[in-house]
Structures are given as C-alpha cells and as structure tokens.
C-alpha cells in the first residue's frame, strides 16, 4: 500500500517537473522563434531571395573554374603569403612577450600590489572588448598602411586574451613549491622564476600557439583594411570580378593555413608532452 502511494506522488512530481521543463523551454523557444522571424523579416531575408540567388551562385562557381594559376607566377601573391605569415608570427610573438609581463602583474599571487593587479586586469579586459577592426583603423593613421600596422594590430589584439589566460594559469599554480622557496629565503623574482614559471610555461606556450592559429586568420582580414598581406590580393581579385584568380589564391591560402595549423599542433603536442613527462 505504502509503496503505491509513494509511487503515485513520485510520478506526479515527475510529471510536474516535466511540465515545468516544457513550459520553460516552450516560452523561451517561442520567444526565440519570434525574434528570429522578426529579425529576418527586418533584414529583408526570404526563401525567395535564397532560391533566386541559387543560379547566380552556380554561375559564379562555374566562373571560378578552372582556377587561373597564372596569377601565382608573378610573385606578388607569394610575397603576400609571406607578409601574412610574418604579420601573424611577429604579432603573436610581440603580443605574447607583452602578455608575459602583464600576466604576471595581473595574477593575484604574483602581482606586486593590489592596485597594479586591478589596473592591469582592467586594461586587458578593455583590450578584449575592442574589436581588431577598430585597432587597425587607428593604427593605420599612426604608422600608415602596410604590414607593420597589421603586425601591431595583431600584437595588441592578442594581449587581452593571452594575458588573461596566463594570469589565470599563474593563479592556479600549486602554491607548495612557492611557499617552500619563500621559506628558504628566495626573493619575489626567484619565486616566480623557479616556483611559478616551470608550472605555467607549457600552458603559456600552448595558448600562444593556439593564438597564432587565430592570428593567421585575423591577418587575412587585416589585408582588407590596409594591413597588407595576401588578404588584400584576395579582396582585390574578388572586387575586380577576377574569380578564377581568386580561386587560385584561395587554394594557396588554404594550403598555408593547413600547414601552419599542422606545425602549431605538432609543436603544441611536443611541448606539452615533454613537460608532462618531466
């Protein structure tokens, strides 16, 4: 008897929970569908537009083939590739170097004072909020068009994320080695050098390599707004309706990105693996 009653209340409770679950999701779901439809209508989207665009799409794809490999013989595209790679590499390196210092200053257990820590944290949060587009537009005014502006934009754009991750890694470091170093009379610098850094370097390097992958793609975008590199050539080919050229450049860019990602993957695995083994 007792058993059936408890089963009944259990089932009722389950049903209630079920209903509440659905009411909640139906409400939010309905709201989202409404918002989606309203936004889509406001933007002038429709299925008709999509269907009408299809033949155009096929025509454009047809125009891209065969890719015009001639465009690669001039050397202009290869120089662009080199510029893009250099921007991403140099920018990531500079950004990582600055993040290294800022990360230490922003970590609660390594910062010289609370005020410094808060100031650096705020600075990095502000940087993360600023889109790279804004940074490059301002930098172009300061140092002029070209890969130097793009490289600086990438460096500045990396600091917010890398600095934050580095600071978090330092804060999560095992405090025991730090304490024993301190009790043996080590200075603040020595504690950081021998207690903190060995623990956090693998994650710092892995994050920097990951950021390089992001920055390589960002470097393509920067070409469009005056940052130099192969993004500019690609944008030009597309704007001048040279679709066959654009496809050839796209192929080269794809190979570049895949190779760079393979390399950074390999380095990441090697560095992290080696440190784990120690």
């Amino acid at each position: 008897m007792n058993g059936t009653i408890s089963l009944g209340t259990g089932r009722r409770k389950a049903e209630q929970r079920h209903r509440r679950y659905y009411e909640r999701y139906l409400w939010t779901g309905g709201l989202l569908v409404f918002l989606f439809g309203w936004n889509a209508a406001e933007l002038g989207l429709s299925a008709r537009l999509f269907i009408e665009g299809l033949p155009h799409f096929l025509a454009l794809v047809a125009e891209m083939f065969p890719p015009n490999w001639q465009v690669l013989t001039g050397g202009r595209v290869w120089w662009g590739i080199l510029e893009t790679l250099s921007m991403a590499f140099m920018g990531t390196f500079l950004g990582a170097a600055v993040s290294f210092v800022l990360g230490i200053l922003a970590a609660g257990n390594a910062a010289p004072s609370r005020a410094v820590r808060e100031a650096v944290r705020t600075l990095m949060a502000a940087e993360r909020a600023v889109p790279t587009l804004v940074i490059i537009l301002l930098l172009v005014v300061v140092v002029g068009l070209g890969p130097f502006a793009g490289m600086l934009a990438i460096a500045i754009g990396s600091v917010g994320m890398l600095g934050k991750l580095f600071a978090e890694a330092i804060e999560n470091a095992d405090p025991k080695p730090l304490e024993s170093l301190e009790s043996a009379g080590a200075t603040g610098m020595q504690v950081i050098r021998y207690g903190v850094l060995p623990q956090v370097m693998p994650s710092f390097i892995a994050n920097t390599l990951y950021r390089f992958d992001i920055n390589l793609r960002a470097a393509l975008f920067l070409g469009v707004v005056g940052g130099g590199g192969v993004g500019f050539d690609l944008h030009m080919a597309m704007s001048l309706f040279r679709y066959a050229d654009a496809l050839a450049i796209t192929a080269v860019v794809l190979v570049m990105i895949l190779l760079a990602e393979k390399l950074s993957d390999y380095l990441r695995r090697k560095i992290i693996g080696q440190e784990v083994l120690q």
Binding site: M90, P147, E261
Partner: protein, 270 residues
Amino acid sequence: MSVPAPGAMRLHLKKFRKYVAPALVATLLLWGASTVCRVDLGALLAGMPRGVALFGHMLPPRWEDFPALAGPALETVQIASVGTVLGAVLALLIALAAAGNLSPHRAVRELARGALTAERALPDLIIILFFVAIVGLGAFPGVMALAVCSVGMLGKLFADAFEEVDPKPLEAMAAVGATRAQIIRYAVLPQVFPSLIANTLYRFDVNIRMSIFLGVVGAGGIGFNLVMSMRLLRYQEAFAAILVILVLVVMCEQLSDALRRRVLGQEVLR
C-alpha cells in the same frame, strides 16, 4: 684533465638541443619576419604625435550622430543573431549525421565530419567575400556568410557532445522499440541541450565581432559607418561609431554570459 666527462658532454649537447637551437631558429625567424613586415621603430615613434593628434581630433564624439547610428547597430545585432541561429540549425542537422552513435551509416558520418573539417579550414574571409560576390551588397550576404562560418565549429562541438552522451537511456529506449527520431528527441537532446545552447551563445559573441567587420566589405551594419568616417577623415563621427561598437560588444557579451550561466547553472542544479 680538461676534457669534460662524456656524461657532461652529453648534458651540454642536450642543453644545446633543448634551448640554444630553438632560440637560434626563433631569432632567425623573427629577424626574417620583422624584415618582411617592414618593422620600423622610427615610423612608430614619428607616428606617436599623429596618434595623440588623432585622439584630439576625435574628441568630443559627435553626439548628434548617435540616433543615426542606432539603425546600423541594430542591423549588426540582427545579422549576427539570424546568422548564428541559421548556422546552429544547419550545424545541428550535420552533427546528427556526424556523431558516431547517431549517424545512420559510417560513410555518412565520414562525409559529414569531412565537410565540417573542410569548413573550419576555410578562412572566414574567403566565405564572406564569396557571399558578397554572389549576393551583392546588403545584409543578406552577411547573414549567409556568418551562418556558413558558424557551421564548422558548432557542428564539431555538437557532434562531440552527441558522442559523449550517456548511452544507457539510448539503449533502454532502443530496447523498448523506439524509433531513431524518438531516441534522439527523448534520450539525446535532453542530455546535450545545455551544451548546445552554451556553444551557440559563445558563437554569437564571435559573430557579433565578425558582423562588425562585415560592414567593411559592404555587407551591412555599423562597421560600414566606422570605415567610411575614417576614410573621409571625419574623426568625431568615427569616434561616435567606435563608442557605439564598444557598447554593443560589451552588452552582447554580458547578455550571452548571463544566459549561458543560466542555462548551464540550472542544468547543473537539477
């Protein structure tokens, strides 16, 4: 006597291979890269006064521009949100085919995984330029480009989430004769729902930033206003656009953070 012991020699060699050789390679690469980038500290120093003057020209922002910027700002948010939702729906369908435990066939799974990987490898810039070329200027190419750009990342994350579900409810439902659609609906989706929502919200953050860039290539939104003001050297207008963009980015991030915490927190509590 002065000849080092073989052990010490090996240690030196190890140290060289571990520290000195990578440092040499890095220095060489940095030198090459800085040459290609035309790194010029003189230009940077010479530009500093120009940078300071730029801020002088920007202040104060043209406050009367703000009402006019509301429309483009709203358009940016709309492009990002519609693009994200379209991309998430597409990604969900592909992920169902790409998840090892739900896919109808091995070949379908490999095909879907391959498509997702290919999309992730394709730089977003290429996708955006492609859609602008096909559809022309306006919000439509922007939405389509963002949707396609989102599919690769979301599809992979969704498929991974599907593969990590607890298989017991699935087996129990299969044992009592549920169809594949019923299993997905009642055993899989409730388990992965929080992660689907959280990842989609994260992608929305990414897409807001991308949607600001879309204006540069003519796909609508507030990025266009910013770039135009900068090109026409109307710095006070540009500063107004920058302020609106910053508010937009921060607000959208706060919103998606709050929603994400709500979705994940609520599920953790249950």
